[in-house]
């Protein structure tokens, strides 16, 4: 009998979504344990004492695997099934490079630019986001998904962007970062991604996501202000 797989997650988290996509595309059944991040469980804190964040993967009796992209690579290596990352070493290196780029140079500044108060710092994040999205737009040219014809590693690594580009966050924050003519390939990608069957099974409906972030927006803004002051 196969070992039980449990995933500790939280509603609306793009990081958890990556882990779920990896498990689903590999055909691995799993139990999802939803956390309330405002009231973290003993289970979460025990299994991820360093970062105290989701997702956390528990495979059988093994100690936890933490960090979403590491969980994806773990799932790819530990379970049989179609490969999640490309098999060619150069393509793998490219996928890993672009995943890091998307995480640190696109999603993060995008998030900051949408939620921060106006000012020089915010302007910096806006400029950084747009410059980097342009690089990503060029990367997507002629392809339906970053991985090719079907959704793959780089697409779900970029899923946080799908939330952001699909306008969910912007609708809640009341901020629009780009005009109608900008980033057409990326916006089309966001729609194709969020419409994909496997994705929809582990991505909440738009209306629920909007409600979820609307409920958190004051907290998000406050924590960003505190973070900026600390710098």
């Amino acid at each position: 009998m196969a070992e039980l797989v449990k995933l500790i997650g939280a509603f609306g988290s793009p990081f958890v979504h990556r882990a779920e996509m990896a498990l689903r595309l590999k055909g691995v059944p799993y139990e999802l344990i939803q956390e309330d991040l405002n009231n973290k469980s003993e289970l979460l804190l025990r299994h991820n004492p360093i970062h105290k964040s989701v997702p956390v993967l528990l495979h059988g009796d093994r100690p936890a695997v933490c960090e979403s992209l590491l969980i994806v690579e773990y799932v790819d290596e530990a379970f049989p099934g179609p490969p999640l990352l490309p098999t060619d070493p150069h393509d793998r290196a490219m996928a890993r490079f672009w995943a890091q780029f998307i995480e640190h140079k696109c999603s993060r500044p995008f998030w900051m630019a949408v939620w921060m108060d106006d000012g020089e710092a915010r302007e910096g994040f806006v400029a950084e986001t747009k410059g980097n999205l342009a690089l990503l737009e060029a990367r997507l040219q002629g392809k339906k998904f970053f991985a090719g014809d079907a959704v793959g590693y780089l697409d779900f690594a970029a899923c946080g962007l799908a939330h952001l580009l699909g306008g969910v966050i912007e609708e809640v924050a009341g901020v629009r970062l780009y005009g109608d003519g900008e980033f057409p390939a990326l916006r089309r990608w966001a729609e194709d991604y969020t419409s994909d069957e496997a994705v929809r099974a582990c991505l909440p409906e738009r209306a629920l996501l909007v409600a979820h972030f609307a409920g958190k927006k004051d907290k998000i803004r406050m924590s960003l202000r505190a973070m900026m002051q600390h710098k």
């Binding site: 100690p63 590491l70 070493p89």
Partner: protein
């Protein structure tokens, strides 16, 4: 400044780097371990070369490995690439273990060493006030404390995180040792303490073994070279983050 180490012909292989950069040191060590020959090209990060800018247009940073004309960027991606391409090399075992859980653990602590430890000690060097410096020292020591615990868990009583021989996590943390030497010499800050009563006895023993390995001796410059480089950075770019100028 170019060097051509002898060894297995990796085809057309170049590495753009900075000898004192931890990100470059770790890549050079992997190449050394695999006995892969390559052309090393030292970069001036103050005046970036056309080759660097065209090979890494996104970040314009080192290291960049150029294999058969195709660039690979990001030290972690390069390390795994080299490990995969020269997997069959009889001269060097894989730097990552075979077991997926152990691989995830090595990658986790390597990411921790780069995202929590490295920025903290960089912060010591660039702190504007005593208060800030103290804060960064505390962060550094807290992070190294976590890694001391991790070493106990990973090494199973052996010399390195990876066991009997150096592996991925050893390289990522080991490549930072040069700068711990700079911190001691220039700032009087001791990150890994090898005195009696040390809070990091396991890492102290590990560090001693690491610096004695062939590839560390071959690749890592002496502390004075790093001190000189830091002085150059301080003179030219006050306020920049060292990570901006170490890669």
């Amino acid at each position: 400044m170019e060097k051509e180490p002898k060894g297995d012909d990796g085809g057309d292989l170049k590495l753009l780097g900075l000898t004192v950069s931890p990100f470059v040191i770790r890549v050079r060590m992997v190449l050394q371990m695999k006995a892969v020959s390559y052309r090393y090209i030292e970069q001036d990060l103050f005046i970036k070369s056309d080759l660097l800018v065209t090979s890494n247009p996104v970040h314009k940073k080192v290291p960049v490995l150029i294999h058969g004309g195709r660039p690979v960027c990001e030290s972690s991606a390069i390390m795994e690439y080299v490990d995969e391409v020269w997997a069959a090399s009889t001269t060097g075992a894989s730097i990552l273990p075979a077991d997926p859980y152990e691989r995830a653990t090595a990658r986790f602590w390597a990411a921790y060493a780069d995202s929590k430890l490295l920025p903290a000690w960089v912060g010591i060097m660039w702190a504007a006030t005593e208060e800030e410096r103290t804060e960064k020292v505390d962060e550094t020591l807290a992070a190294i404390g976590r890694l001391e615990e991790a070493f106990g868990e990973c090494s199973n009583g052996k010399a390195f995180f990876a066991g009997d021989s150096v592996g991925y996590l050893d390289l990522v943390l080991g490549s930072q040792l040069l700068w711990f030497g700079v911190l001691r010499k220039m700032f009087g800050v001791v990150v890994i303490d090898d005195d009696a009563g040390s809070k990091t006895p396991l890492l102290a023993s590990w560090a001693k073994q690491f610096v004695e390995t062939d590839m560390a001796k071959e690749v890592v410059p002496d502390v004075d070279t790093a001190v000189e480089y830091l002085k150059k950075l301080q003179a030219h770019r006050p306020g920049s983050t060292v990570t901006q100028l170490l890669s």
